[in-house]
Structure formats: C-alpha cells, structure tokens
C-alpha cells in the first residue's frame, strides 16, 4: 500500500499551504502550484502520512485527497 495525494486541479489555486506542510514531498512550480520533487504521482511515505492528512484537511479550497493505492502505477485515464 502506498499513499498518494491527488490534486483536484480545477479547485487548486496555488495557495501553498500543502507545500508548507509537506516540504519533504512538495515544492511550488513557477506559477505557485504544488509539484512533487520527483516527477509523477505524488507518493507519500508512511512516516509523512499524518502530515499529508493534515495538508488535505487544511487545504482552503478542499483540493487535496489522500488515497491509499494498492498497486503503484500509471493512472488509468478513460476516454471514450
């Protein structure tokens, strides 16, 4: 099990609270939006899960979801 942070990009406004709470995982991109240090899905190591939960709970725009994903891999996107 890996924990992953999912950003609702339609809601995120780049306030930056999550970056302050999770500097081990996130930084700001040139426009202020959260981006992981390592490109790809935002993987959260076990010891940082409480911080990630806090970040998700405190996001003023409710743009973050922390989810346990069973198998790490590329997200499946469905398009008709």
């Amino acid at each position: 099990m890996t924990a992953r942070l999912h950003v609702d990009w339609t809601a995120c406004d780049g306030r930056g609270l999550c970056v302050e709470l999770l500097p081990e995982v996130l930084e700001r991109d040139p426009w202020g939006y959260p981006i992981p240090h390592k490109p790809g899905p935002i993987e959260v190591p076990d010891h940082l899960v409480p911080h990630a939960q806090k970040a998700a709970g405190l996001c003023p725009l409710l743009a973050l979801r922390l989810r346990q994903s069973a198998a790490p891999g590329p997200e499946q996107r469905v398009r008709s």
């Binding site: 990009w9 939006y33 490109p39 790809g40 469905v78 398009r79 008709s80």
Partner: protein
C-alpha cells in the same frame, strides 16, 4: 477542407433492418469481448470493459459522444450524416446490454446533429426501447473529454472535471455511465448484427476490425475512409491520393505524434515506437514545402487557446509552451526550456489536454531534431524562415 465519403460497411447508407436485440442485459458484453472492440474516440479502451463495469449498477446511463473537438477529425460528423441509424442502433443495443433506461446523443449543432435528429424522428414509434435525448456539444477541443461530456449531460458547462471514480462506476448524476464515441457504437451495432468472428475478419489479431480514418493535408482526395486497423500509412495515403514529397504525417491529431509516411501500420502496436496510437483515426500529411516547426508552433498555440482554463498548470503552462515553441520555430533555440516546461504540465490536470499537448510537442522535438538544429543556425530546411 473538402471532404468526400467512400462507402464500405459503416458508411453504407442502405437500409440496415431491425435492431438485432440480444435478449437482455449482459449478452452483448460477451460478444464485444470476443470481438475485441476498442473505443474509436482516441483512448482505445476495451468497449466490453466499460459495459461490464456499468452492468448491474443502479440505473445505468449510456451516452453517444459525437463531440469531435479535434479540428483534423471529420469521421464522427461524416458517420452521423451518412449513416445515423447505425449509431442509434448501437446506442439502443448498448442500453440493452447494460440495462440503461436513459440514452443521450452528444453532438455539436450543425449537419451531423440535424441528420441524427431527423433519424430519431424517423424511428419514432419503431423498435427503440429507450428514448434518446440530444445534447448539444460546444465547439471546443476539450468538449469531448469524458468528464466534460458527463457535465454537459448533467446540464452543467461542458468542461472537464476532477474525477477519482471511473464513469462506468459513477458518472451522470452518480449513475453508472458508459460514454462511447459514436463510431464505437456503430461497431457495436455491426458486431450485434454480424457477430464477433465477422468483426475479427480484418484488422490485426490483437487489434481487430476497421476504423474510420480522416485523411487530410498534402493529399488530392482528403476525406473519411473506412480501413482495417493496421493498414500501412503509405497505403492509406495512396487511397486518399497522397502527393509525392510527403515524408512525415501527423497521426492521431493535435494530441498525436509524427510518423514517417511509409509502411508503419496504423495500430497501437505499429505506432508505439513513435509514442502514439491511431487515436481517433487522424492522418495529416505534412506538405513538403511546409516548415514542420512553424506548423507545430501554430498547433501548440491553438492547443494553448483551447485550454478550458480550469487547471493552473494547464492555464499557465500551455501558453508558456506555445510561446517557447514559437521562439524555436523562428530560430531562437529554446529546446531545453521546452523540455523543462513539458515536464511541468504532464499529469497535472483534470483532463488529458496537457498530456496530449506534451505528447505532440515532444514528438515534434524528436522527429524534427535536425530542423531544430538547422533553425538554431539560422536556416530552415524548407526555406520558410524569415
């Protein structure tokens, strides 16, 4: 672009007879799996899988997606204008297969919508089991994204939305929702009528069947052609009156990749080495006298304008990518900046638009590396530089 139509099976205008009902939910799903039909709207997702997921859910919904936001694609409009009934048959059969009580046709205003509406009127009082509501798709690139389609059916703005659950689990108003491209539905009807073995008679063993290709650009007879999956690109170009001097084609549209105008098969397997897929079946032949970098810059600017503007990285990143691509096309080398920017938007949106744009830009940099170098030295291989 003048388009002509070349009839084979899907585009046959002849009467098709009554709907071949399968006698209850689920049965057609097995046939779709045996047939190996994949979605013809771009992503190539197995059709049976969507149906199988939605089947058994509470009050499922089926949507025919004819939005066709891709400027180089004409096949959905052509299909709806030429043979709307085969699409509507597929819609009814999919509704039966998943036990849907509601069906929608999502299509831009214009002749395709008119033809479909006329066909729906003709069918009134006939054999259809679910009524079909027509929803008009706004004319923009991202209107056909699945989450945008669902939003439109729900009566909201047709814009992509953040979703963590697949539509066949929870889509329109939380109901299991199967969104199929209109061509996919036409194949569903054909499979119901002729059987999976008939469908597999052509194409490749791994990617069976035919697809509707829209061929445009440097060809004498641009148009929509029904051809087997895996057809060599040069053969497809020859059908459309390909002109001498074409070396490279854009495959899969503005979110697609460049491939040589040779014997590369139009299939997922054939196009994988180029990082692409047949997508929605688009092949655009680059004219020999057209600077590929300028052409790519135009497309990238268009894609940036077509951002719905809902997601920060796309809203900010795509215009930056487009500006950099433009700089590259006029000889100001910005390839490194372009690589950095593409990394900043990948996977960071509610829809596929930033990823598709990045795929196109990266393919341009790889395919036309020699042109990039030439432009750095102040000249263009086709002499289009100012």
């Amino acid at each position: 672009m003048t388009m002509s139509t070349h009839t084979d099976t899907l585009l046959d205008t002849g009467a098709s007879g009554p709907i071949p009902w399968r006698g209850g939910p689920g049965r057609l799903v097995t046939d779709l799996k045996t047939a190996g039909l994949t979605g013809r709207g771009g992503a190539g997702f197995p059709a049976w899988r969507k149906a199988s997921t939605a089947l058994g859910g509470k009050s499922p919904v089926v949507v025919a997606n004819g939005a066709e936001g891709e400027p180089l694609s004409r096949k959905d409009a052509t299909l709806l204008q030429t043979n709307p009934h085969v699409v509507l048959d597929g819609l009814q059969l999919t509704a039966e297969a998943i036990g849907a009580g509601r069906a929608y046709l999502y299509v831009p205003r214009g002749s395709a919508a008119d033809a479909a509406t006329a066909a729906l009127t003709e069918r009134r009082g006939g054999h259809d089991r679910v009524s079909v509501a027509v929803i008009h798709a706004p004319e923009r690139f991202v209107s056909g994204e699945e989450s945008a389609v669902i939003a439109a059916v729900e009566g909201r703005d047709a814009l992509p939305r953040f979703r963590t659950v697949p539509a066949p689990v929870s889509g329109v108003d939380g109901r299991p929702t199967v969104v199929h491209n209109v061509e996919t539905l036409a194949h569903v009807a054909m499979i119901a009528r002729h059987g999976p073995a008939w469908f597999r008679r052509t194409g490749t063993p791994d990617e069976p069947g035919t697809f509707l290709a829209t061929v445009s650009g440097y060809v004498a007879a641009p148009g929509v052609y029904e051809v087997p999956v895996g057809i060599p690109i040069d053969e497809l170009l020859a059908m459309a009156g390909g002109l001498a001097g074409t070396r490279t084609v854009l495959v899969g549209g503005y979110h697609g990749v460049w491939a040589p105008a040779g014997s590369v098969p139009m299939s997922r397997a054939g196009l994988a080495p180029y990082g692409g897929s047949p997508g929605a079946g688009i092949v655009h032949a680059l004219p020999a006298n057209r600077c590929p970098l300028r052409f790519a810059a135009e497309i990238t600017r268009y894609l940036a304008e077509q951002s719905a503007g809902k997601c920060g990285p796309c809203l900010n990143g795509l215009p930056a990518i487009a500006a950099t691509m433009t700089a590259l096309s006029v000889g100001r080398s910005e390839a490194r900046r372009l690589k950095w920017l593409t990394g900043l938007v990948t996977g960071r949106g509610a829809c596929h638009h930033p990823d598709g744009t990045v795929r196109f830009v990266r393919s341009t940099l790889t395919t036309f590396a020699a042109d990039v170098t030439a432009h750095q030295h102040g000249h263009c291989t086709v002499g289009e530089l100012p």
